[in-house]
Structures are given as structure tokens and as C-alpha cells.
């Protein structure tokens, strides 16, 4: 008889049940299956009502993040054999309102992402005209921000961050890491326009450096480090303002 594995999944169908519940499914155990393969099997073969997000199946799109046995992970990047013969429990990412089953609302993250202006900003009048060509950058300049540019917006870092779950006004790891990605870009001049949000209490100062955001990041972005580096920059700003009031403030 083929080996099987139990998968317990968080179910919430607002038109059916007021409170969420868990439903267990028996799936075939296959060495080469990732958790997402098992969920797809459930959807195709056992229960078509199950709702979840996925797309690329290869750790690039960032859609299939969920709590797998209480740890935020991309379900396309974890094999069943890592848990077998124990059972697997799947829940939507912690800290976000749940719309349906494993699908959570990401509006809050998207709003915050927009607020930190994740694009290159130039001072007025300093933008190159198209015919002048691209902004050149050396490999050394690229190295300063490349790590932070690897973020795929999967939101695992938010689910790992207890601060965000306690206080949802916190801008959060990915958004701050992305602001650093642009602040450290030699072509960007927009740090001042991001600083009001990043330097606020809801920005970097809400972070107590738990560090789990970096542990769960599937792309080694290290948002915890980005936040602490932003704290150092903000502190230097403050000292400049206090000690050198006649100098350049930022």
C-alpha cells in the first residue's frame, strides 16, 4: 500500500462558517513533492473548495507563503519528506486578516509599500533626458543595495515579526528593506522623501530586532539588518541636527 501523509488545513469560508476550523486530508507521500504539490493534489482530487494562492512553483513569485507547522514558508520550497511521517499543519500567514482558507488580505502591505516610494527618485531638474542615456553604476555601487533588491514581496517576514502582529501600524520588514534598497542606490536622491515614514515610530523605531524576519526570508534579503542600518543612518541624522545645526541636516 502506498504511503500517505496527513495534512491539516485552516479553513475559513465566511459564507459557510462564522469561525474558522481545521480540516484534515490524506495525501500520497512522495519524496519529490513539495507542500504545494500536496495542496494542488487536494484541490484537484479531494476538495475543490480549498482556496490558496500560488503561481510560479519555483520560489520567485512569492504567492504561496503560508504558516507550515507554525513557521512562515513558501509552500513551493518545502518538501513533504522534511516532515514525514509527522503531519503537516497549514495556516494563512500570521498577522494578516484572512479572506478565505489560506488567502489573506495584503492591502495593508501594499499600502505601506507604496508609502515608502519604492522607485528611483531624482531631485527636480536633475533627471536625465531620455536621449542622454541611462544612469551608470559601478559593480561596487550595485553591491551596496543588491541584497535588498532580491525581495519578492512574499510577506513571510511580516508573519515572522511579532511586532507587526501586535501593532499593525508598523511599516514592517520588507517595506523598510525596500526603502533601504533605494536609499543605498547611487542613482537615487529620494531618501529625504522616505525618511518621514521610515524615521517615524511606526517605521524603524518600532522594530526591536527580533531577527526572525531575516531567518525566514527565502531570498536572504536580511530585512533585520536593513532596519538596523536605517536606525544608524537616522541616528547620525539626529546627531547632525543637534551638534551641527548650521550644517547639512540630512
Amino acid at each position: 500500500m502506498a504511503e500517505t501523509m496527513e495534512i491539516k488545513i485552516f479553513r475559513y469560508r465566511p459564507e459557510v462558517e462564522k469561525e474558522p476550523m481545521f480540516q484534515s486530508y490524506e495525501v500520497p507521500f512522495r519524496e519529490d513533492w513539495v507542500v504545494l504539490d500536496a495542496i494542488n493534489y487536494i484541490k484537484d482530487e479531494i476538495d475543490g473548495t480549498l482556496s490558496y494562492r500560488w503561481s510560479c512553483r519555483m520560489g520567485v513569485c512569492g504567492s504561496c507563503g503560508m504558516m507550515i507547522n507554525d513557521i512562515p514558508k513558501l509552500s513551493c520550497a518545502v518538501f513533504l519528506k522534511e516532515y514525514y511521517p509527522k503531519k503537516i499543519c497549514l495556516e494563512p500567514l500570521t498577522g494578516f486578516p484572512v479572506e478565505r482558507d489560506l488567502i489573506f488580505e495584503m492591502d495593508d502591505f501594499l499600502t505601506k509599500l507604496e508609502e515608502i516610494k519604492p522607485y528611483i527618485i531624482r531631485h527636480e531638474g536633475e533627471e536625465k533626458a531620455l536621449e542622454e542615456g541611462v544612469y551608470l553604476q559601478t559593480p561596487a555601487e550595485l553591491a551596496h543595495y543588491k541584497q535588498y533588491s532580491m525581495c519578492i514581496n512574499c510577506m513571510l517576514c511580516y508573519a515572522a515579526c511579532p511586532i507587526y502582529s501586535i501593532d499593525s501600524t508598523f511599516i514592517g520588514p520588507a517595506a523598510i528593506a525596500l526603502s533601504q534598497r533605494y536609499n543605498l542606490d547611487s542613482r537615487d536622491q529620494g531618501r529625504d522623501s522616505r525618511q518621514d515614514i521610515i524615521g517615524s515610530h511606526a517605521g524603524i523605531w518600532d522594530c526591536t530586532f527580533v531577527g526572525e524576519c531575516s531567518t525566514v526570508c527565502p531570498k536572504d534579503v536580511d530585512p533585520a539588518a536593513a532596519i538596523q542600518r536605517a536606525k544608524v543612518s537616522s541616528t547620525i541624522d539626529w546627531f547632525k541636527e543637534v551638534l551641527i545645526p548650521w550644517g547639512k541636516k540630512k
Binding site: 559593480p139 551596496h144 526591536t208 527580533v210 533585520a224
Partner: protein, 127 residues
């Protein structure tokens, strides 16, 4: 049909070891602050004269005081080591396009710690 907001338990820090260790790290700050206060009291007593200072020093030889000092030492060491290990995340140094290895940054902090501790030990014990 409103979205469901899963409650976040107050004992979240007991659910996973990294969260627990984080809370312990935060808790050690209390011992660091407490020992700073103790050192201030020591200086204050020194200012009051040899008699006041001497009686405080004598009280420190009690077993209660020694136990409290050992506990404080353990927590302060945990505090120092965990923060030293986190230093490379904050202190990011590039040489050209290569980042200075994290172990080198952390290692230099440990070397600094050993040097300062040795100098203080020499001042206290050696002179």
C-alpha cells in the same frame, strides 16, 4: 463577509525558541541597567568617604551578594554576546564591491572586548 482576524496570543514568545531567546535578551537589559545603578551607588559611597565605602564593600562579601553577582554576570554575558553577534548586521563595511566578512566584524568586537577587559583586570589586580 468580513475577513477573519486571528487573535495573537500574549504568550507568543513561548511558542518558538527564537522568540523565547529574544525575550531573554530583552530581559537581560534589566540586569545591565541594574548593575549600572549599582556602580553609580558604589561611586556615590566612595564620594561619602572611606567608612561608607568600606561598609558597602564589606556587605558585598555576603553569600546573597555573591549569588546576585553571579546571576548578573550570566545575564550581562548573554546580553553582550548576543549583541556582539548581531553587530555585523548593523556594521556593514564594503571594500570595493566585496563586503567585509561578518565573522571579521564580530571577531574585531570580541578582540576589543578582550583587550578592554584585560586592561581593566590589569588596573584592578595588577597595580
Amino acid at each position: 463577509m468580513s475577513p477573519y482576524q486571528k487573535p495573537f496570543p500574549n504568550n507568543w514568545w513561548l511558542k518558538r525558541m527564537p522568540y523565547f531567546l529574544f525575550i531573554i535578551r530583552e530581559l537581560t537589559s534589566v540586569f545591565v541597567a541594574g548593575y549600572c545603578l549599582f556602580l553609580l551607588v558604589l561611586i556615590y559611597k566612595l564620594g561619602q568617604g572611606p567608612e561608607a565605602y568600606g561598609s558597602l564593600i564589606k556587605s558585598l562579601t555576603s553569600s546573597t551578594s555573591i549569588v546576585l553577582h553571579v546571576i548578573a554576570l550570566v545575564f550581562v554575558l548573554y546580553h553582550a554576546i548576543t549583541w556582539f553577534n548581531l553587530t555585523p548586521k548593523i556594521l556593514v563595511i564594503y571594500k570595493g564591491q566585496d563586503r567585509i566578512p561578518q565573522w571579521l566584524v564580530a571577531g574585531s568586537v570580541y578582540v576589543g572586548w578582550i583587550v578592554v577587559s584585560a586592561v581593566i583586570a590589569w588596573l584592578v589586580v595588577g597595580t
